[in-house]
Symmetry: C2
């Protein structure tokens, strides 16, 4: 969790996981142990070391302890599922929900391919409409949840929603959310044999560009002939691609992902919203942020780990790459 | 704003200002210009340079541009004012509100001295009860705001609240919030002459310790004989002391603040919640965070500004202080 910004679900109301971290205990490369911060909810005492280490993927220090904010379990919660004829209609609905300031606790989109996989894999106990589907989560007092559902239902209908169903009781709530939960596993269940692998990766863009990038990426995926679904944290402009491939299809899968990342950067987006950089996305950073910013990150790395002991050359190359060494854009 | 974590009002629902910053353009000490991040709401692309520069008080680079998240203006808002016999009662009310998960947009406390100053200075158009007072702000749909007010009213009554008033209309809302707005100015208006100065400073503690530290600090302030009020962002465990003093009272004021800061650290708190470190609180950092953490901050400073050109020796001393150089605790 500390390694990525992954929220598991949409972060629209509750913020990303990193915002819930108050302080970290970290072992530095030279063995020094530091605690980044005390535990009040607010502090301006020196530099924000907590956030320096969150998402640094083990390259700056080893996190051995984390202090998190607590929150209150909501009095009431519910789930609704809405299906749409197109991704555009679904995205339009989300935009309206956000513009109305409805404090939904989650807004997740699954595309038609993803819904087909869930039906085919029988990982949930019901059959779903095989069209772009939004999963909403609501929390608050019982009357606030009821009000939010009724507002969202109207907005979904206005956006040419094909169906809207909300749970009546805890069992139905679990059932409705199950498809969202099974997204990844349902694609894994479609493996044709032991040589098949599943590639999951993510990007994020400004919210207004999400329908465009999902559209273009879906078109590219269809052309590729691969089994590839999309699952998105729509309230954050963040989505995941889940692609099934074998060794002979690897180059094709790489091409789809490379173009998805390039598209995200061209839309003022980021090469990864949650998953992190690692080795595969390392050389994309300069395209997203510029070489001077990557160089500033390199200074940070070398300040904390001058001997390059920790996960060396992950996230950023510790030496500036030679001209031509970085992958063609 | 970028220099501090100050939220202007309580951050309970909306988070601190720093959480609203998506990216910064920064000029580094060597003249390099970097942009820390693109503008999606979520990114895991490399180290979090945005948060490295926020709150660095000009010691790591010069911020020339900031990209902020937008939010929706709430459909409806309202304000309520509740007075209590004691700070304990007021704090008890806030704890209950937080425990009930009521998503109030603001919870601000003003102590009896602060309320007296507001009456005496006539900076607002009405006379207030001169007892510890909580100002609540509510936002949401009209029915959600109504529901929140009714829940908070009940909790205030259960905590032996002496009065509870909510606004009926925009004019009353402005009037009720005016005392909160005038807190600082009302103390300034009490200056006995041009030689009088006003010292504002802040600390933060875990929320459960807030009544204890306010209590002890008030007792100390009363003993000091100075005019000194307390104004707190209760939902964050953060409060401000506002002290009127002249040259001959300066040592006494310093003593009050020194003991307040020490108390905060002893309660696992922070030497500053919003105002920042500067020069005055620099030597407190080692007491709060430990010397190894301050040394990690020093590494960060020297990585970005090896020639010590930017606001040198603010926040942290760029050279490790000699034994005995740091103020006695």
């Amino acid at each position: 969790m500390v390694g990525t910004g992954c929220s598991g679900t949409n972060a629209y109301r509750y913020g990303t996981m990193r915002e819930w971290v108050l302080s970290l205990t970290v072992v530095l490369a030279d063995g020094t142990v530091i605690k980044t911060r005390q535990r009040p909810r607010k502090s301006s005492a020196g530099y924000d070391l907590t956030r320096v280490f969150i998402g640094s993927e083990g390259t700056l220090g080893l996190v051995t302890e984390a202090t998190l904010k607590l929150t209150v379990r909501p009095q009431s919660e519910n789930v609704a599922v809405a299906s749409f004829a197109s991704i555009q209609n679904a995205a339009e609905c989300v935009t309206k929900v956000v513009e109305a300031g409805i404090p939904v606790a989650g807004v997740e989109i699954l595309d038609d391919v993803q819904m087909k996989c869930i039906n085919a894999s029988q990982t949930t106990s019901r059959q779903w409409k095989e069209s772009p589907t939004i999963f909403f989560k609501f929390t608050g007092t019982p009357s606030a949840v009821k009000e939010q559902i009724s507002m969202v239902q109207k907005l979904a209908a206005n956006a040419s929603g094909k169906s809207f169903e909300f749970a009546r009781g805890a069992e139905e709530m679990k059932e409705l959310w199950s498809a969202r939960k099974q997204a990844l596993w349902s694609v894994m269940a479609m493996r044709r044999g032991p040589e098949d692998r599943v590639w999951t990766t993510d990007v994020a863009v400004p919210m207004s560009r999400l329908p465009d990038i999902i559209d273009a990426t879906k078109e590219d995926m269809t052309k590729s002939g691969l089994l590839a679904g999309i699952c998105g944290h729509v309230g954050d402009g963040n989505f995941h691609a889940i692609i099934l491939f074998n060794e002979s299809e690897k180059k094709v899968a790489e091409g789809v992902i490379h173009r998805m990342v390039k598209r995200a950067v061209e839309m003022e987006g980021t090469v990864t919203g949650e998953h992190g950089v690692g080795l595969v996305k390392r050389d994309y950073l300069a395209h997203e942020l510029g070489e001077t910013t990557v160089d500033a990150m390199r200074r940070l790395k070398l300040a904390f780990d001058p001997l390059r002991l920790l996960n060396c050359d992950k996230v950023i190359r510790t030496e500036q790459p030679a001209p031509g060494e970085i992958k063609e854009w």
